[in-house]
């Protein structure tokens, strides 16, 4: 059998470009990985993680399980395109082997098998009617294409209020992809109209075509259809490595590298490329973004940030305009570290060498008290004296002897500076505070600020010191019987601060404490889905109006619960939400203090 015809050229050229570029990119990124990352690969290559990675590749790259969780129809669309196409390739391969045995067939021979196999007898091999199986698979993929067209018209029906604005390159690739499968159907139907070798779908369409037009027209049309099909494939393959469709391949190495323990860090590194190009620009991150739905920004969401960074056109206005609340990261079906990527982009934009910065902190120590339990109020609590007083009463009531780290003024924890991208300078403040805590020999460090809590847990070297959020600490006191909290009748609703909930995974402790003091009702979006107050220190670009709009929307959503008062566990959230609601907003410590026996 001869496997050559002029129309295969666009396909073969496309394939060659695709695999050359993809291979070049992967080798380059991999070679540039830091030595520590390469060590991780070597150490974990032969481990269970690799097997689990294979499972994840199957469930995420082909079945798209995580998108099903966002919306079943959207999940089906992605699955039918990915898994359907994969099966077309695999079953197509098996079909060739079934018909021709171990004979070496060039790659286009598999793809255009229907065209080249017209001389073979058309009957089931190994008891399988391959033509019909392939038709069923093609129908499966076509249902996805149909849904993709439908999504253009009615994205809301598929769970997306807004979809991604695409670049020109993406549009070219997208159009080519949309045409690939209908053209395949047409080409195979025309061939089957002439040679009667189709399955239930292509055969039926082919018979209808054969009845409608003479053989000469059919054969002209057949040749053009195969040309068009090959061109669509070629265009798609050439545009693939430069468009969003690079994710099709890149998610695979990303899953394995992540399984082997490689993570993005606060400085940019080669691994980030795998993350950036694994983004499919599906746009699932757009809807949860409060900057979009409340403040009216349409070009700063993670999908656009990643795109801009990938094509080297990232501007500070985009990189800095993000609350880093983590709502998009929580939803991302590829599991990208969106906040970390944003953070290291900012560090590239804003970080400066800072050998002498904050030298003025040397020798400063305004702490007081002698207890083994330290309390770090943090800047925001210092600005909320009610919380500070409540904490003092709680400490007194429990008989705890406290070392007050910063009541008379201290050095910031460093997280706001780190989030703004000045990682080097932030480290200098962190070292100052670490040294201060060690000097006073504390064994427990309590803070009422989730921003401080997160940086203490993630970036400070505090071996031997237990770091607790005040919600955890107060609950512990209450459980040990050192605090008597009297239950009341008030109805509270609780706002999860981003840094505490999604950031540190603390959801239950504050709720348990609120239930000790009154009744608790949950807002519509809560826990992992909780809204951001809008005043996050991570955003240095949002103006006051934007912050107020978000606060009002959060206030309204909390108010809808009908609660008498709003409780939160972050001084910054407290101040922010208070601007957006007419209900009283309390910190957890205030609620506990008011119900102390």
């Amino acid at each position: 059998m001869n496997f050559y015809d002029g129309f295969i050229i666009p396909f073969v050229v496309g394939c060659a470009v695709l695999f050359t570029v993809v291979l070049y990119k992967y080798v380059r990124w991999f070679v540039r990985l830091p030595a520590a990352d390469k060590r991780l690969v070597r150490r974990n290559f032969f481990s269970m993680q690799t097997l689990r990675g294979i499972g994840e590749v199957f469930s995420e790259c082909l079945l798209h399980r995580r998108i099903f969780r966002v919306n079943p129809l959207l999940g089906y669309m992605h699955m039918s395109l990915a898994f359907g196409w994969f099966l077309l390739i695999v079953v197509g391969w098996i079909e060739t082997i079934a018909y021709l045995g171990g004979r070496l067939v060039p790659i286009h021979g598999h793809v255009f098998f229907k065209y080249f196999s017209t001389s073979l007898p058309h009957h089931p091999v190994w008891g399988i009617d391959f033509s019909s199986v392939m038709d069923a698979l093609l129908l499966f993929v076509l249902s996805g294409v149909l849904l993709a067209w439908f999504k253009r018209l009615r994205s809301r029906a598929m769970g997306l209020r807004r979809t991604t604005k695409h670049t020109l390159g993406d549009r070219v690739a997208l159009s080519a992809l949309w045409f690939v499968f209908p053209l395949r159907l047409l080409a195979e139907s025309l061939t089957s109209a002439i040679f009667h070798n189709g399955g239930f779908l292509t055969g039926a369409i082919g018979d209808a075509l054969a009845a409608a037009m003479p053989l000469r027209t059919l054969s002209t049309l057949e040749s053009s259809a195969w040309w068009l099909y090959s061109c669509a494939l070629g265009v798609f393959f050439v545009s693939m490595p430069f468009s969003r469709y690079m994710h099709i391949f890149t998610e695979v190495p990303l899953i394995f590298l992540r399984r082997w323990g490689i993570r993005s860090g606060e400085k940019p590194k080669s691994f980030d490329h795998f993350q950036l190009e694994a983004c499919s620009r599906c746009g699932i991150c757009i809807d949860p973004c409060q900057l979009q739905r409340d403040a009216g920004f349409n070009n700063v969401q993670s999908v656009y940030f990643i795109r801009d960074r990938r094509y080297n056109m990232l501007r500070p206005e985009v990189a800095d305009n993000c609350l880093m609340c983590g709502r998009c990261e929580q939803r991302c079906p590829v599991g990208l570290d969106l906040n970390t990527l944003r953070l290291n982009s900012r560090s590239r934009l804003h970080d400066t060498p800072s050998d002498r910065r904050y030298d003025y902190t040397a020798g400063i120590d305004r702490s007081s008290g002698t207890g083994k339990t330290g309390y770090f109020a943090g800047c925001m609590t210092l600005l909320s004296p009610k919380i500070l007083r409540a904490m003092e009463r709680i400490f007194n009531a429990s008989g705890e002897e406290v070392w007050w780290a910063d009541r008379e003024g201290g050095v910031c924890c460093g997280r706001p500076l780190k989030l703004a991208g000045e990682t080097n300078a932030a480290t200098r403040m962190m070292r100052y505070n670490e040294e201060l805590f060690r000097r006073h020999g504390i064994t427990t460090l309590v803070t009422s600020c989730p921003i401080c809590l997160r940086v203490f847990r993630e970036d400070y070297r505090l071996e031997g010191i237990e770091v607790l959020h005040h919600s955890e600490y107060i609950l512990r006191l209450a459980k040990a019987g050192r605090l008597q909290i009297e239950p009341g009748e008030e109805l509270f609703t609780y706002h999860d601060p981003c840094e505490l909930g999604r950031g540190c995974g603390i959801y239950e402790e504050p709720r348990e404490l609120i239930r000790c003091a009154g009744k608790l009702v949950e807002p519509a979006e809560t826990r992992e889905e909780a809204l951001c107050c809008g005043s996050s220190v991570a955003n240095t670009a949002l103006n006051d109006l934007g912050q107020q709009r978000i606060a009002r929307s959060v206030g309204a959503s909390l108010g809808e619960t009908g609660a008498d008062a709003i409780v939160t566990a972050c001084p910054l959230c407290k101040k922010a939400i208070a601007r957006g609601t007419d209900r009283p907003v309390y910190d957890l410590a205030e609620v506990v203090e008011r119900h102390l026996a």
Binding site: H350, G410, C412, N543, L545
Partner: protein, 109 residues
């Protein structure tokens, strides 16, 4: 002689005709809300860094707007970016953004 603790201030006149206001204008263009500042000093009163040093945010940004760039970058580098000033500002100015903007624009001074 008895020292009463009084001194004579250096003259503090700023000559706007002689100062090069290009950078100041660039800063205002990017952060127009800075013009809403009423110089109340709340930012400086709450400032974490100002509590430990002579750092004075109000003074630095006021001087910068008048074309006095000398030392502004070094002064702004004392800021810890904690964000207290932003919460107390009665005019709702994005003070943290101002710090970063001044540092970006005046890095070479």
């Amino acid at each position: 002689m008895i020292q009463w603790g009084y001194t004579i201030n250096q003259p503090r006149a700023v000559n706007l005709d002689r100062n090069d206001l290009t950078a100041a204008r660039r800063i205002i263009r990017q952060m127009p809300e800075l013009q809403a500042c009423i110089a109340c000093g709340s930012c400086t009163a709450t400032c974490t860094a100002g509590n430990l040093t002579q750092f004075n945010f109000r003074k630095v940004h006021t001087l910068v707007r008048r074309g006095e760039y000398e030392g502004a970058y070094e002064e702004m580098n004392k800021c810890m970016l904690c964000g207290k000033c932003r919460l107390v500002c009665p005019r709702g100015i994005n003070t943290r953004g101002v710090v970063m903007l001044i540092k970006r624009e005046l890095g070479e001074y």
